[in-house]
């Protein structure tokens, strides 16, 4: 069990149990991440040509490939993943922390943040991440946020309602016999921290920072929400 909420320095905890892991598994992780989830794909495909967006925690940039008629600035903490993401034209990718984004407020038509904020280890930091994303949006802007669900009893992991929401999830890095690691091993297990979201928790986080939920739902072991800057903008077209 991960006791993240009690960690004295959440940022140091995440550095060790999230950022360092992704930096080391970047290439292997990227080779397994090429399928776009349907909800994300349709959100991206419906964007107006020439709109400007963010992909916060873009990883290897697999969603940058979905729509070439918009311009996206992707960002990620892992420089090794950003190097891969930067190859997706016509977009751009930078190294940045999702809680400290280098963007002006109100400039962006859309944002996506897929499988990212469940790596933040306190409720305050998860809400702050939503707030930082919403601040970047124009008044009519929309953000799609996607997080891992606690309720996934038919998945390989088998978690369900009532289970611990803060967990460590192994990633087995396989190098093959031709490229063993320094100690001669051909595989190494890394542990990544995750906060598994309960039903309704993502929407509550959006509302807690003043944002409005336009639409939300469940897709294959994940909760998602399309949100906007303020409750009063949920009815605007977009």
């Amino acid at each position: 069990m991960a006791d993240a909420a009690a960690a004295p320095n959440a940022d140091q905890y995440e550095e060790q149990h999230v950022h360092e892991v992704y930096e080391q598994i970047a290439s292997h992780f990227s080779s397994t991440r090429y399928q776009a989830w349907p909800i994300v794909k349709s959100f991206m495909q419906e964007l107006e040509p020439g709109t400007i967006g963010l992909d916060v925690g873009c990883g290897n940039g697999k969603y940058l490939a979905v729509n070439k008629d918009v311009f996206i600035v992707g960002s990620d903490r892992s420089s090794n993943l950003v190097k891969i993401a930067a190859q997706h034209e016509p977009h751009s990718a930078i190294i940045a922390d999702s809680l400290v984004l280098p963007h002006q407020p109100g400039r962006f038509d859309f944002a996506i943040c897929i499988a990212v904020i469940h790596h933040l280890s306190t409720p305050q930091r998860r809400q702050e991440a939503v707030k930082v994303i919403l601040e970047c949006l124009r008044d009519d802007g929309r953000a799609l946020i996607y997080v891992w669900a606690l309720e996934q009893k038919n998945s390989r992991r088998g978690w369900d309602e009532g289970d611990d929401q803060d967990v460590m999830v192994p990633w087995v890095l396989k190098t093959g016999k031709k490229n063993p690691m320094e100690d001669g091993a051909t595989e190494k297990t890394f542990q990544r921290y995750y906060h598994l979201y309960r039903s309704g928790e993502l929407e509550a986080d959006v509302n807690a920072v003043g944002g409005g939920v336009v639409d939300s739902g469940y897709e294959k072991d994940n909760w998602w929400a399309i949100c906007c800057k303020s409750e009063s903008f949920t009815k605007a077209s977009g």
Partner: protein
């Protein structure tokens, strides 16, 4: 780092974001390269109204490129002017900063660009 990207970046320091001097960031000691990217008029025409033109004029002057018109061209003007469309495509999407840094005009912090990728992670004392 594309010239267009620079138009959508500012200093990561929270206190700087509300100041007018933090945008645009100032390129310093930059090496430029040119990539070939497939022209996409639909993208270019629709991006222009979202570009902060004043900031773009500053960036272009600081990088030492030929001056742009004082106001952004309209879609109609671009449709009638293939040369200008090509030039803007080259400037915004194909021209890249490969090495150098971006400096905040408010706090003076310099963000390094290496192999075309800018790093906005802040040292602990600035977070």
């Amino acid at each position: 780092m594309k010239v267009l990207t620079l138009n959508f970046l500012t200093c990561a320091v929270k206190a700087c974001k509300s100041t007018s001097t933090s945008f645009p960031l100032h390129p310093k000691d930059c090496e430029m390269v040119s990539d070939t990217i497939e022209p996409n008029p639909k993208l270019l025409y629709n991006i222009l109204p979202r570009v902060n033109w004043t900031a773009l004029l500053t960036t272009v002057a600081e990088l030492g490129f030929p001056e742009l018109p004082p106001n952004p061209p309209t879609i109609e003007e671009l449709q009638a002017d293939e040369k200008m469309t090509q030039e803007l495509h080259t400037l915004l999407l194909e021209t890249q900063i490969s090495e150098g840094c971006l400096v905040c005009g408010n706090c003076g912090h310099a963000y390094a660009i290496k192999e075309g990728i800018a790093n906005f992670l802040l040292p602990n004392h600035l977070v």
